[in-house]
């Protein structure tokens, strides 16, 4: 399996006038093509930092981050631009890359239609529900055809019901499009229900404490996984490791 993203012994230290904070130290892992990797860790341990490093928004203080291809970043809130229609929001990454060709745009529109946003293309974000907005944000991320998706707690701003639905959506869409994804979360059950593999980070400075390949076979639906017998076993294990 080809690696899309590779961290080798990465350390990152933030410098501010108040002092320095080491957010990651000796961090090593890789994400293979087509893999869905979830990273869990206690709050403030350096998860967002890890994603910024992966996206190339931060340069490591030492060590190396290698990336094959483009990243698509998805944040906690949808961050749709309220003055743009859903369609214009989805075109944003294409505009940034100055992609003029009709192909990329019609591809993005196709994607939106395929995943139930067809009727909302000309609507403004304020007219959509929270779940729909997050779905639009995902389509926007996919419109740029990234080689790896970086998801920073993308469900944590949603209420529980919506969260389960959006989780299901995201899983379906990412698996359907055969995307490689790196999901950051502090929610253990989310990680288990979505990922192929789970990394557990230590408290700050973050480094990899455990890595588990999950055994759900072909079952990728988060709701189905939650009903499977091994789910609670994984939950207990990860919960213990996280609180060690």
């Amino acid at each position: 399996m080809k690696n899309v993203l590779c961290f080798t012994d990465v350390t990152l230290t933030y410098h501010t006038t108040r002092g320095e904070t080491t957010a990651a130290e000796g961090l090593s892992f890789e994400v293979g093509e087509g893999e869905f990797l979830a990273v869990i860790g206690p709050s403030g341990c350096g998860k967002t930092t890890l994603l910024s490093l992966a996206a190339g928004l931060l340069a490591p203080s030492s060590g190396e981050v290698t990336r094959a291809g483009r990243c698509g970043y998805m944040l906690q809130k949808d961050e749709l631009f309220p003055w743009r229609t859903i369609e214009k929001n989805i075109f944003l990454p294409l505009e940034i890359r100055r992609e003029k060709e009709k192909n990329a745009r019609s591809g993005a529109v196709e994607l939106a239609k395929k995943y139930g946003l067809g009727d909302f293309l000309q609507s403004y974000p304020a007219e959509l529900s929270g779940g729909m907005r997050q779905r639009a944000a995902l389509i926007r991320t996919l419109a740029a055809d990234p080689d790896i998706l970086l998801l920073d707690e993308p469900f944590s701003a949603l209420d529980y019901q919506t969260r389960l639905n959006v989780c299901e959506d995201v899983s379906k869409i990412l698996r359907g499009e055969h995307k490689t994804a790196l999901l950051i979360t502090h929610d253990i059950s989310e990680a288990i229900s979505l990922a192929d593999r789970v990394l557990v980070l230590t408290a700050r400075p973050a480094k990899v404490a455990y890595s588990h390949t999950l055994d759900f076979g072909d079952v990728v639906s988060p709701l189905k996984r939650r009903e499977m017998p091994q789910f609670s076993g994984w939950f207990e294990l990860l919960w213990r490791e996280l609180n060690a």
Binding site: G72, Y73, F81, L92
Partner: protein, 268 residues
């Protein structure tokens, strides 16, 4: 759509409309009461109309200004000075704010100067302005710009700098250049602040132009006020003040109208 309202909703709407009508009636009533009392007090001789003027005397003064053709001349002069000063200070203020947003270093270098310029009472520069620009409209426009430009700059810079951090992060993760970030995010998200800046700056422009006319006046509303004061024609002073109220309100509502047009797309 109207037929689809429930009876309760119709009652709600009617109540709202009645409330609005009441507010307007009270507003107009208050003005009428003020003018009426003013007129009465002076007509009955309880107050000296020579010192207090009165609504009827203001009307007469307006009519005579209109008759000798100077009414619209003075209005035109002041309005033009104000509008030009307003436009220049708005454009320059936005441009400087953009520059300061673009360069963090430049911003930090210029910050103390801007603070001092903002705190400086611009009227103190009166003599300099007369020497540099003479006593014509240029001097007044310059004064107007001076009064407005710093406020416009600071207002817009604050707006630019308060751009949502996460949206900035999102654009940077897409590989956006600084210019693209400016075009796609910083400028569009500052629209509301731009409009509130315009509202503030309209007021600033009137302060500037009238102050300018006080210093170097030969024509305009400010000139009428100064001249009226000097020759003790309080009717003229009151009339000019009244005109000023009308013009300032008119310009403010023009901005409000602009806001309605610009913001319509976004709110939905």
């Amino acid at each position: 759509m109207k037929h689809s309202y429930s009876a309760e909703h119709a009652r709600f709407l009617r109540k709202r409309r009645r409330k609005l009508a009441l507010v307007w009636a009270l507003r107009i009533g208050l003005l009428a009461l003020f003018l009426g009392v003013w007129e009465l007090v002076t007509a009955l001789g309880w107050a000296d109309p020579f010192l207090m003027s009165s609504p009827s005397r203001i009307a007469k003064t307006l009519a005579s200004l209109y008759a000798d053709g100077s009414l619209f001349y003075h209005i035109g002069v002041t309005l033009l000075e104000t509008l030009i000063g307003f436009a220049i200070s708005t454009v320059v203020g936005c441009a400087v704010a953009l520059l300061l947003w673009w360069s963090e270093t430049l911003k930090r270098v210029l910050e103390p100067y801007i603070v001092v310029l903002n705190a400086l009472p611009k009227i103190a520069l009166g003599p300099l302005i007369i020497i540099w620009f003479g006593t014509g409209a240029e001097a007044i426009v310059f004064m107007t710009v001076l009064v407005g430009v710093i406020v416009a700059t600071m207002h817009m810079l604050t707006a630019f700098l308060s751009t949502d951090k996460n949206k900035l992060l999102l654009l940077r993760s897409m590989g956006a250049s600084k210019l693209q970030i400016l075009q796609k995010l910083v400028v569009p998200s500052s629209l509301a602040s731009f409009i509130s800046m315009l509202k503030v700056n309209v007021g600033m422009a009137w302060i500037g132009s009238i102050m300018g006319e006080y210093i170097v006046s030969r024509a305009g509303i400010g000139y009428l006020i100064v001249y009226g004061g000097q020759v003790f024609k309080l009717d003229l002073v009151m009339t000019a003040t009244f005109l000023l109220c009308l013009l300032a309100a008119g310009m403010y509502f023009a901005v409000v109208l602009l806001e309605k047009i610009l913001v319509k797309n976004e709110e939905n």
